[in-house]
Amino acid sequence: MLANVGYGALWITFGLSLYSIIASVIGMRLHGHPAWIQSACRSLLFIFPTISLSITILIILLTSGHYEIAYVSRVTSNAMPLFYKIAALWGGQSGSILFWTWLLSIVSFLFFITEQKIKDYLLPWMMIIISVTLVFFVFLLLMWENPFNKLWLLKSGDVVAGFLQPLGSMLFVPKDGNGLNPLLRHLGMVFHPPMLYLGLVLFVIPYAYLMAALITNRMDDGWVKVCYHWILMAWLFLSLGLMLGARWAYDVLGWGGYWGWDPIEIAALVPWLSATAYIHSSIAQTKRGLLRRWNILLIILTYSFVIFGSFLSRSGLLTSVHAFANSTVGIAYFIFVCLILFVSLGLLISRWESLEEKNVINSLLSREVMFIFANFLFVGLIVICLWGMLFPIFSEIIVGEKVTVGPPYYEKSTSPVFIFLLFLMGITPFISWKKGSLKGIKRESIFLFVLLLPILVGMKIYNIGDNLTIIYLGFAFFILFLTILGIYKDIQLVNKKGVENSNRTIAERIRFLMKSSAGKFVHIGVILITFGIIGVEMLQVETQTTVTKNEQIVIREYTLQYLGLSVFNTSDGRNISRAVLKLSSENKYLGELYPRRDYYYDSQQTVTIPAVRSTWRDDLYIILVDWAAFSDENITLRVYHNPFAMWLWVGSIIFIFGTLLLLFPKREDANV
């Protein structure tokens, strides 16, 4: 019964989305007839409660063990704790599409409620575009991926999934479900997919806004600011999603890494890269009236990448730990992304002439040119990523050879681009618009080099790594100093303005500083993440050894002593094998560590949970690889020493903090 209501709510949502399109079209036909437009808007707003009803019902079914529902029996089991049962909502194909659609309804609801200043001529087109997107996703749910499908036992003894009862069949109610893939039973599962999805879904707003402006041919630069704000919001959540994913991989996948250049990881990175490019190039449009066509193209591409990424992860075309099972739903995604690309690019071309640049470039050494180069590098990264992701498909089609494009390709190709980007990131804030010069920072640069020298010498004396690593670290330090110098200059500026305007309180000054330096905080986050990457990628040491009781493993300055192994069951259906290790460094006791392996009885799968000891200097990351059967006499351990790994996470937090500063309050107030 409940499932029928949930399914019915989906049909109502479908009807409301269609009605919103029709009412918008009629409203426009009647030259902006307010009653029709209002009616379309209300219908679009009403989608949020209807789809919320549908999702609430699915959550009730998931948490109450209604295993006659195919999706519930696939992703939950009796032994799973409540919050994983709720998180199972996005753990499978159909649930995650429903979740995506729900987020889309929230985002559009919030947009139409909060953005009061939408021009009358844009509103109907925006509604049409968002409604078409909703129609697409709800149609997928109704036709291909119905999360409310039930299990039916046929006369032949086969069990099939379907919403309507096949003739002569009866409802099949399993006693227990398969349960969520154990790898997904981690706190990361609760936060990573929702953040990532929210980020990706949010891109629909700038896309719809831009398309409305393009269709109505009202391309004054007003759209840039609206899009900037929403893209920044999407970017915040997408960044958070990617960072949480990295942390999850570090915590649970058991390979001592945070980023595996997995095709689906890259599919989420690509829209992030194009959005990052937009965030920079849109400033060139706001300040100098440049890159107008380019910014439109970036928004179109970003949204297309979002849908293309969904297509890749849901079609089964690519093999990945992230990918959903093979599904025909991929074809629908493919058609949708082609439609988006053709229509949007067609529109852009038709408006090409009216989108002439409003200004000229005065000098090669100007902030706008630096932004153009940064954009070129971001696009370069996108090309490298897309090509690496799609090459296995081309190879199979053209020469019939299955290949894997793994980390070596990406690391070799992207690292030079990242180095150039870091360099631009460091110097661009010091180069002014129109005609810049490096005079302003010449003296400071020399001072920074002098500051850098003892650090370089220190790294060499302490033999922190080979010469190349020291050069990379030195370079990262230099960019860090430059960015801190930039913040210092902002403080000077704020103080100067404070003297001119003595009414300003200290709190106000801090607020102004936060606003003017927000971007630089994001940059500091990036540099700290770079330290983490250099540490793990270039300075990581690993060893795998079998040890007997009380035997020691030495890795760099650390000593690990194996004390024992305990094996026990837990109430949530796991059998845990946990090793106890004593950690010391230079004869100083540092504590105990417990690497373990969890065996899940319901899915008969094992998950490795590493023991991690983090300090600001380094991480010790230990995996229990194997142990002797029925004995705790000896175990095999794999130990990684990851210098600077913590800076990945500290940098991520600062990055998010900087982005929040950029977002609240809006950027137009940020010019001190």
Partner: protein, 131 residues
């Protein structure tokens, strides 16, 4: 008849000499992992062999250990896996000597980036000329 016996004896001798020459040497986990890192699990999704903990991968790591102990080089082992399970077990498309489709993996981004750079310079130039 005698001839055949001689051939048999020579072969036996040769065989025994060979067996004496290739004496398996013990190989530790770190050396095995260094090779396994560059090979992808043939049955899992994008997981390097050194970190994959399925039973099949444990056995494949033992195959690597065995080959290493017999004196095989890492490249020979990678080729062996590639021949046995297909090119997708290598972490990078193999680029053999001569012209190969796999060369495009580096060529295409290189060409696109170069063309893009020229385009950027040209558009900056034309942006400056407009003034």
């Amino acid at each position: 008849m005698y001839n055949r016996a001689w051939i048999f004896l020579v072969l036996l001798l040769f065989n025994s000499v060979k067996a004496n020459e290739i004496k398996p040497t013990p190989v530790n986990d770190n050396i095995v992992n260094a090779v396994a890192k560059e090979i992808y699990c043939p049955v899992c999704d994008n997981i390097p062999l050194d970190v994959c903990d399925t039973q099949a991968c444990v056995q494949w790591r033992e195959v690597i250990r065995e080959k290493l102990s017999l004196g095989w080089s890492p490249d020979e082992i990678k080729n062996y896996f590639s021949e046995q399970y297909g090119g997708q077990v290598l972490s990078e498309p193999p680029i053999h000597n001569g012209v190969s489709f796999n060369l495009l993996i580096y060529l295409i981004p290189g060409i696109v980036l170069l063309a893009g750079f020229i385009l950027v310079i040209k558009s900056i130039h034309s942006g400056m000329r407009r003034g």
